[in-house]
Amino acid sequence: MAKILVVTSGKGGVGKTTTSAAIGTGLALRGHKTVIVDFDVGLRNLDLIMGCERRVVYDFVNVVNGEANLQQALIKDKRLENLYVLAASQTRDKDALTQEGVEKVLMELKEQFEFVVCDSPAGIEKGAHLAMYFADEAIVVTNPEVSSVRDSDRMLGLLASKSRRAENQQDPIKEHLLITRYNPERVSQGEMLGVEDVKEILSVALLGVIPESQAVLKASNQGVPVILDDQSDAGQAYSDTVDRLLGKNVEHRFLDVQKKGFFERLFGGK
């Protein structure tokens, strides 16, 4: 049974698109046929992060409006057999999406793919609403700071009350918490909220903690999802996250200040 996953947060700039790209790629790496859908109509970024921006011909809005069929709009990833991207339109705005149109496209995608990863725009308005409305599971991306936590909390409230599952009184959307840009050093200095604080405030199961990393910026600029950089801490943390999403029990890493050197952790011991 295909699953619709939404990556959402409420707040902007916390790493939704990076996460969508990493998790979608990670699922494909593990052999699951996956499509990542950019819901950020008007401010599309996913194609850049995925490195397929030069191959966008038709987009999500074209498919919703029936101007192109799904096969024309799906962009196949050059690195992975199982991975596709459905880009957002850059010239339209979020009002170009309709609930019926989105439903039709998502249902069609569900027939072809095992995982449909929806990259939600920031905010709680139409774009974000449509991205989460049909979801089966939600990954709520949060930075360890109060405004991001508050926005995530609001988003969790909407997931529990304004989704199709909620409106049809089905099982609720399964919620996962993903903390990104985590800096254990700043946490120990009291400049950042700790994992436990965020978990306690949001009371949601923790899916993963992605450390603040240079690798993320580098990967974005190169158009390579950071999960493919398996030497980086962020790449490894996303890898663990995908394993947990698939039901594996993996211990959380990168939560504590590293006393040992960076290279020792990468190459030495286990």
Binding site: R150, D153, L156, L158, E200, S203
Partner: protein, 253 residues
């Protein structure tokens, strides 16, 4: 001074004692300003339950009349009620002309709120008679409104209202979330949002939390915000909030 107090002693023998008491009382809530209709429908009710309508004390509620229903003929209304065995003790009204009409015939006026129709201690409260042109045939028995129980976290931006009763939350309440209840509020998770108990004026409502870190607590309109609450040594502790006079008391549970 001593002599004075001696001379006053016989005078201080209490002649009376003031007591608070809660009575179940029939409220006739007018849905339309239509005396003939009321007369007819009351007559039908009396035929069903003649015993109920014998000198029954009554509060006439005019506060639910639709806006623009025109002036109520209060003496006429009381005559109709009297005719059917209902004796008006007071009216409940919000419109100034109704209040004026009541004062003119020396009839007490109650505030327009259902919150006063609740008993003191045990949590169950008196159910307000259904808004109907006449009271139901059975006397208005105290009925329990089920307590609203919330088991999932209450998120920022969500608002939960327990109308006519208590609210129990067995999960955390986030900042920006709002809990409202006509009765008491209990929170067994971390309480970081707003809690407003007794919002219809029930000054006996209370708020109970296991971990009081609320943004705001309020009982019957008297409130404290977190800036004041934080200074309280019980911040973060298990507390109850109650109202005495117009002072909110926070005490350890």
């Amino acid at each position: 001074m001593q002599t004075m107090s001696q001379t006053q002693t016989p005078d201080q023998e209490p002649v009376f004692q003031l007591k608070g008491s809660m009575l179940a009382i029939t409220v006739l809530e007018l849905a339309q300003n239509n005396l003939e209709g009321l007369d007819r429908q009351l007559a039908a009710k009396v035929a069903q339950a003649p015993n109920f309508f014998s000198n029954t004390p009554l509060v006439l509620a005019l506060d639910k009349l639709p806006a623009g229903s025109g002036a109520v003929d209060l003496p006429g209304l009381m005559r109709v009620c009297r005719h059917h065995g209902l004796r008006t003790l007071a009216i409940r009204a919000s419109r100034i002309e109704d209040i004026a009409a009541a004062i003119a015939i020396d009839l007490p006026v109650l505030p327009p709120s259902g919150a006063r129709e609740r008993p003191l201690e045990p949590e169950p409260e008196v159910k307000k008679p259904e808004p109907a042109p006449a009271p139901p045939p059975a006397p208005a028995e105290p009925a329990i409104k089920p307590t609203k129980i919330i088991t999932t976290p209450v998120r920022g931006g969500q608002q939960i209202y327990a109308q006519g009763g208590d609210l129990v939350v067995i999960a955390s309440v986030s900042p920006g979330a709002e809990l409202l209840a006509d009765g008491n509020i209990h929170v067994y998770g971390a309480m970081r949002g707003r809690a407003l108990a007794g919002i219809k004026g029930n000054t006996r409502a209370r708020i109970f939390c296991q971990q009081m870190t609320a943004e705001l607590v309020s009982i019957a309109g008297q409130y404290k915000v977190s800036e004041d609450l934080r200074r309280d040594p019980l911040w973060g502790a298990g507390v109850q909030v109650s109202l005495s006079g117009d002072v909110l008391n926070i005490t350890r549970l």
